[in-house]
Point group: C2
Chain length 370, copies 2
């Protein structure tokens, strides 16, 4: 007997977890635009626009600025696997899940990995990075800008300087920060930077913007070995996104439409205004949480505005509160990851989810539930 | 000055190239359903349904049957990178672009690659495969079912037998064939099989179904080295798709909705009926092309019904005809790849694009243009 399936019918949620965030109507509409071929002139024009707009949002003039056909973690892998060859040194700043992930991936690239750790919830100290670089031949220094697992916003400029002083590339994970806080790829000297679509860009998950600067491009072209991943091999992918239009893999057409529209919406609001909005709503949220007697995991100067880690008060059942928020308010917040599991909630105010109204609904709900 | 971008507005096309194919209305509607979190109970239910329906469409009872968060080529890489460790033997059947691609990827996995070639447009001879397996310690034998670059449908059962006789796994690329021609994963003893969403499943490009059978799972669990790709590491991904629900990477929610709906549409039509439809429309197309004096590249018994390679007559300008089809009829067909560039057209009749009406429009247009 063949099982019958109904049409899909997911609920409307207020998405205030670590991503995805709520998707604005024009982006949903773009997702539903007619699919065309990946070499159709109409699609090639969309690709051009996506590249132009990505450069504007990432604050860079890098030619190689494209969306990877995968999620943020695919871009993390793309960043590392293209730069690193077996035996290369990689210095990774680790203060959360995503720093750990970078170490894992760099190791799979055959790199020698050295790590600089900071407690989860604190930023990594540039002095410690400089010290670790002594006597270590690092090809790349890698750090996470907004650690989604802890809510820390890592200052990047000094790390970038430290890397360049020793002749290393500087690689930054801007998955959660891009379009929600300043990410100045060119001004800060970030050689490889990547993001994800489902955070402050407010596009569904599935693509991951990435950019490689001139120093990184030189490393790519001087490789002695093939990139370990065919799918993420940037010099091949560039031939499709560049003037050659050589087929590599079939582009995810509908998602690229959506990203194009999400970028358009971001630029229409204005990048600076968008950063200010995230900061303003973050301030409201933190003030409101304080009034409820809740405290933040991260110290004020290092709080990422778009991802807020709140300490769960003693005696409060983590899962129970999150289940009731979802069941009674159709509102999602995130739980803790790794060592922070059960100890914090992660409240995302990203892109379209970042409104005073949403913060009001969440605070009202928490007031009742706690 | 800030450049203004208009809302996205791609044209409606009749997609008769090598994929993407036209997407039916319920699948487009699913793509536009509200985005929820990747651990939302509503989404976990969708994941369960996707796995159930994928097993039905792939004709398998394999537990590990999921969509890879990338396109068909990501699934090719996932198949090879999970099975192969440095020094392992990989025997690859090559009679087109995608066999070549498998060799490239297997090499990047550190495998020793041996290839069995056949002319582009002909199937690979199982006798030659058996011979090549003599004195070669192959861990895997890999073949492409429907070679999208040549239009050959490779019989798989005998190759599968040959692999198993020597204790090797059998890996099949069903990117273009799945849901357009019989793909019997369990009955044919295929140990690893993958596909793409944008061909006969008639879903937008961006996901790639994959399945690993018991023999392949044993290989995965007995690995001595880490999988070279973190993003495609199946034992980690399985922890998210299995009962643990452990976070690996954020699932591409909207695309998984679309795939869920595409699978529902396929099963509603019925798999056997869908195969018959592809064969029937293929017969019409070949007959019609014959009446126009056009001949097929591939001999009758080895023609893949869903991807048809037609020899471009002497004196006819390849690009000119394809441009006019697109410009005057809004109809896309594909050009040749690699050694077949400029020599053949590739006419896809996949999924929703596979109708007598579309074939009629194309034949009418070709009659005028040639």
């Amino acid at each position: 007997m063949v099982k019958r399936y109904e049409k899909i019918n997911p609920p409307n949620r207020i998405l205030m977890g670590p991503g995805p965030s709520n998707v604005p109507a024009p982006v949903m509409a773009a997702l539903g635009a007619p699919v065309v071929g990946h070499l159709d002139p109409a699609f090639l024009a969309v690709m051009e626009e996506v590249q132009e707009m990505l450069r504007a949002v990432m604050r860079t003039e890098n030619t190689l600025t494209i969306p990877v056909s995968g999620t943020g973690s695919a871009a993390m892998e793309a960043a590392l696997v293209n730069v690193l060859e077996p035996g290369d040194g990689a210095l990774v700043c680790v203060n959360g899940v995503f720093g750990e992930r970078m170490c894992d991936i760099a190791g799979r690239c055959g790199a020698e990995v050295r790590r600089v750790d900071a407690p989860w919830g604190s930023p990594v100290d540039p002095g410690a990075v400089r010290k670790a670089l002594d006597g270590f031949n690092a090809k790349v220094v890698a750090a996470v800008h907004a650690e989604t697992s802890t809510g820390v916003l890592q200052p990047l400029e000094d790390l970038s300087k430290a890397a360049h002083e020793r002749g290393a590339l500087f690689l930054a994970d801007a998955v959660t920060s891009l379009a929600g806080a300043p990410v100045e790829v060119d001004r800060w000297g970030i050689d490889v930077c990547y993001s994800g679509t489902q955070k402050c860009l407010s596009c569904p998950p599935g693509l991951a913007p990435i950019t490689f600067g001139p120093r990184a491009m030189e490393v790519l072209t001087k490789r002695k070995t093939k990139v370990r991943s065919w799918y993420l091999d940037m010099t091949m992918i560039l031939k499709y996104w560049g003037p050659d239009r050589a087929y590599h893999h079939t582009a995810p057409i509908s998602m690229i439409y959506a990203l194009r529209e999400a970028l358009r919406v971001v630029l229409e609001e204005g990048l600076e205004k968008r950063w200010e909005r995230h900061l303003r709503v973050h301030d409201s949220l933190v003030r409101g949480l304080g009034k409820l007697g809740l405290s933040m995991l991260v110290e004020k100067p290092y709080r990422a505005p778009m991802i807020n880690t709140v300490v769960i008060p003693e005696g409060v059942n983590d899962l129970d509160v999150r289940r009731r928020l979802l069941g009674e308010y159709s509102l999602e917040i995130g739980g803790g990851l790794g060592v922070l599991k059960g100890k914090v909630w992660r409240i995302g105010i990203m892109g379209d989810s970042c409104t005073e109204e949403n913060v009001g609904i969440l605070l009202g709900a928490l007031r009742k539930l706690l």
